[in-house]
């Protein structure tokens, strides 16, 4: 049964023709709800190349997003002598994340959390305003699938030619075109995986190492895995990723409301659909000329005229296809358009369509973005480049010395996030008579040197007279002061016997 459907479909594609000056297609919406079965084998979709404003937008966005992805690791950013000069770098061995003027240490990973929260709420806001624009234009799956289809189009021709080629017996031309397509896909996939690893190491060095087969195995493995996934998801899985694998369409179902922009077929204007002669518009028919071009261009294999569907990524290509046809037959544009479900009802009720951008949910999302953004900006601006951590010895809690005085041991960790060496004086506040000593020959609590962009650890003993400790413990504060400016402190306790 499944086999039959494929055969039917491929025969159907090439019987398209022209009628009434309009190119017609009997493309089938292979992912139409009625046709979906749990045991349905994937039916290949041959998206036709659409021409129009949305297609142009998609080309521009593809160029920009791919450009950002491939070129970002090559941007240089001078940070001085003690830090890498790559603008965006995730340096796992040194445990640093660099993003232009921002530098993040592992314990500051909450910046990433904040960024992810911002990205999520931003996506919520965009979705409630303009529907699944993320899916239709900027999602990597969409961008790379679009790129793979463009390659297919360049080598094998448009929809009809591709269907013909698939039906044709194997010959020199078919082999050349098919192999050429696969080779081009693999090259793109390798470049995609290749670009990824440059975010994790100095790009020029790694590029040279990769070519000389001197790079770390993990680099080759990463490239291999990403090459495989890109090739599989962009070349073959395509719309199935969105329909079956991705949770996002389901989540977005809950974010959309009747005031969100979605691709809408103006059913009241279009139906009843029917073919006609050029310039002749019988009053019994609506504006839809039943040319099926909206189905032919759809990369998701659906018919937008069936209404809102889970599969629709709102890429707008059906709008382009329909508008070209409407122009040809001399009917007004936007039979399929970005509109809202509420507007469809409004038009039906004789009201003017309007956009309600300010709604409770958009206000809540915008407010959340503002709050999270403000918190992140505040923490980023006030980010300390100096940190002091005190680890109290717990075994032994304290040491009684031969003269009766009490000694406590501490591990003092100083984090210097500046790109130059700094020297700190260490003092203990809150325990009169306490004497500090630092383990190590020549170590002086008055001059603890910490290297550039690093953490230094010191063993410090504090000794105080027996009678300065009452009730077993005294609250004390360690403080470091840099003579050149900057200070930090941290609280701890000094323990002694419990009387």
């Amino acid at each position: 049964m499944v086999e039959q459907a494929v055969v039917e479909h491929t025969t159907a594609g090439v019987t398209a023709g022209r009628q009434g000056g309009v190119e017609r297609s009997d493309a089938e919406p292979v992912n139409k709800k009625e046709k979906r079965s749990l045991y349905q084998k994937r039916i290949k979709i041959y998206p036709k190349l659409a021409k129009g404003a949305f297609r142009r937008w998609k080309w521009v966005i593809m160029a920009v997003t791919l450009g950002i992805y491939y070129l970002t690791p090559w941007i240089r950013w001078d940070r001085g002598p003690n830090a890498p000069d790559q603008a965006v770098l995730i340096d796992f061995p040194a445990r640093r994340f660099y993003f232009f003027f921002i530098e993040i240490w592992p314990q500051e990973v909450y910046y990433i959390t904040g960024l992810l929260i911002l990205a999520a709420i931003g996506l919520f806001l965009i979705t409630s305003l303009a529907g699944r624009v993320w899916c239709g234009y900027t999602c990597p799956q969409t961008v790379w699938t679009d790129l793979f289809i463009a390659v297919e189009h360049a080598i094998q021709g448009d929809r009809a030619a591709r269907i013909r080629l698939d039906k044709a017996p194997w010959g020199v031309e078919k082999v050349l075109r098919k192999v050429g397509t696969q080779v081009a896909w693999v090259v793109i996939a390798v470049c995609t995986g290749g670009a990824w690893v440059f975010y994790f190491a100095d790009a020029p060095t790694l590029a040279a190492d990769l070519l000389a087969f001197q790079a770390a195995p993990v680099a080759y493995i990463t490239i291999g895995v990403l090459t495989f996934t890109t090739y599989l998801l962009g070349g073959f899985a395509r719309e199935q990723v969105c329909t079956y694998m991705c949770p996002w369409p389901r989540i977005q179902g809950g974010l959309l409301d009747e005031e969100s922009l979605v691709i809408t077929y103006n059913e009241d204007r279009g139906e009843p659909r029917g073919a006609r002669k050029k310039g002749d518009h019988p009053s019994a028919l609506g504006d839809c000329v039943a040319c099926n071009q909206c189905v032919a261009v759809c990369p998701m294999g659906i018919d937008i005229r069936d209404g809102q569907q889970l599969e629709c990524i709102t890429c707008g290509l059906c709008i382009d296809a329909c508008n070209s046809v409407m122009d040809k037959v001399g009917l007004p544009r936007n039979l399929i358009e970005y509109s809202t479900l509420a507007n469809v009802e409004r038009v039906r009720a004789g009201e003017k369509p309007r956009l309600r951008l300010i709604r409770p949910r958009t206000i809540v999302y915008s407010g959340l973005i503002a709050v999270v953004g403000a918190i992140m900006l505040f923490t980023l601006v006030t980010r300390a480049d100096l940190d002091l951590n005190i680890l109290r010895d717990r075994n032994p809690l304290f040491v009684a010395l031969s003269d009766g005085s009490i000694r406590n041991g501490y591990t003092v960790k100083i984090i210097n996030k500046q790109h130059q060496e700094r020297v700190f004086g260490l003092e203990l506040v809150g325990l009169p008579g306490a004497v500090l000593t630092v383990v190590g020959a020549g170590a002086d609590p008055g001059a603890l040197a910490v290297g550039p962009d690093s953490l230094a650890s010191f063993r410090v003993f504090a000794t105080a007279p027996r009678d300065s400790v009452t009730d077993g413990a005294v609250d004390v504060t360690f403080r470091i002061v840099d003579q050149a400016g900057g200070a930090a402190s941290n609280d701890t306790v000094f323990r002694g016997p419990e009387d």
Binding site: P396, V399, A400, L401, G404, G409, G440, G442
Partner: protein, 289 residues
């Protein structure tokens, strides 16, 4: 069998022929991806049996053509780690204890290595934090029986206290009570005097009597002022630290029956570099002289 084929009318799929209360199970084929993954794992298993150690035999196992062995792997890992450490270990072996402490790089390595060696070999008696216990000296404080210099600590680790090594440290105090060298009253007086040395005595008259006995019997080793003697391993009795407890009954017990703690000799058991690291570690705990 062909006769038994039953096709479900609604789905057009063959059934298994099993029926439960009128419900029949469809015999849908396995998903392709699942099937191919299954074949791939079968192939993997066969290949694995050939190249890796896999099947147990009666007294050994199939070795596999790659000759992999987890024991060898471990030996290699350990050897690699040794190799990586050898730069420091060789330098530590060649350097004197003072040179190790003066070199911040070597010191860091020795403290880490000494800490691990201490946890494995010493913490059983001295405690994980080296704070000791009654009869087991606290190594954090500044009170030493045989001295707290790097050399003295190193010597103690090498040869032990009362160990079976011929160079072992050996101190002996007479059991004044058990061997009836002093009477009970004299012992009580001496104990009062010893406690008074660190300001915790209660009976000044007894202490005064004990001072005489102390000068006769004890000062030879513990010195006249009770400050002890590293050479003889005689503890300082005038400070605030007591190895066997600082209350009167503990002091009386020490005088009556004597004390004789012991520590094994580590030379021969631990290599020289480890002992050096241990000495540096113990010295760094805060009491090193």
């Amino acid at each position: 069998m062909a006769d038994n084929k039953e096709v479900d009318q609604i789905s057009g799929v063959e059934t298994t022929g099993h029926e439960w209360d009128g419900i029949k199970e469809l015999n849908n084929p396995l998903p392709r991806w699942w099937l191919w993954t299954f074949y791939a794992t079968c192939l993997w298993a066969f290949a694995y049996w050939i190249v890796m150690p896999a099947w147990p035999l009666i007294s050994s196992h199939t070795a596999g053509v790659l000759g992999y062995s987890s024991r060898e792997q471990l030996a290699k890992t350990v050897a690699t780690a040794r190799e990586a450490q050898s730069v420091y270990l060789n330098r530590i072996e060649d350097a004197s204890l003072e040179e190790i402490v003066a070199d911040s790089e070597l010191l860091e390595f020795a403290l880490a290595g000494g800490g691990s060696a201490f946890a494995v070999n010493c913490s059983q008696c001295h405690g994980r934090g080296a704070a000791g216990y009654v009869g087991y000296p606290n190594l954090n404080d500044d009170d030493w029986i045989w001295g707290g210099s790097l050399e003295a600590i190193s010597h103690a680790i090498h040869f032990g206290i009362r160990s079976d090594h011929e160079e072992t440290r050996f101190n002996e105090m007479p059991a004044y009570g058990r061997d009836e060298l002093l009477t009970r009253e004299e012992i009580n007086d001496v104990a009062e005097y010893v406690l008074a040395l660190s300001g915790s005595g209660e009976d000044a008259a007894a202490a005064a009597r004990g001072e005489v006995t102390f000068a006769e019997q004890c000062s030879a080793c513990h010195m006249e002022n009770g400050e002890g003697n590293y050479e003889l391993g005689a503890p300082n009795l005038s400070d605030a630290i007591w190895l066997y407890g600082g209350d009167k009954s503990a002091v009386v017990e020490s005088i009556t029956n004597s004390r004789a703690g012991m520590m094994p000799a580590w030379t021969g058991r631990l290599d020289e570099a480890t002992i050096k690291q241990l000495a540096v570690y113990v010295h760094s705990l805060g009491g090193g002289e």
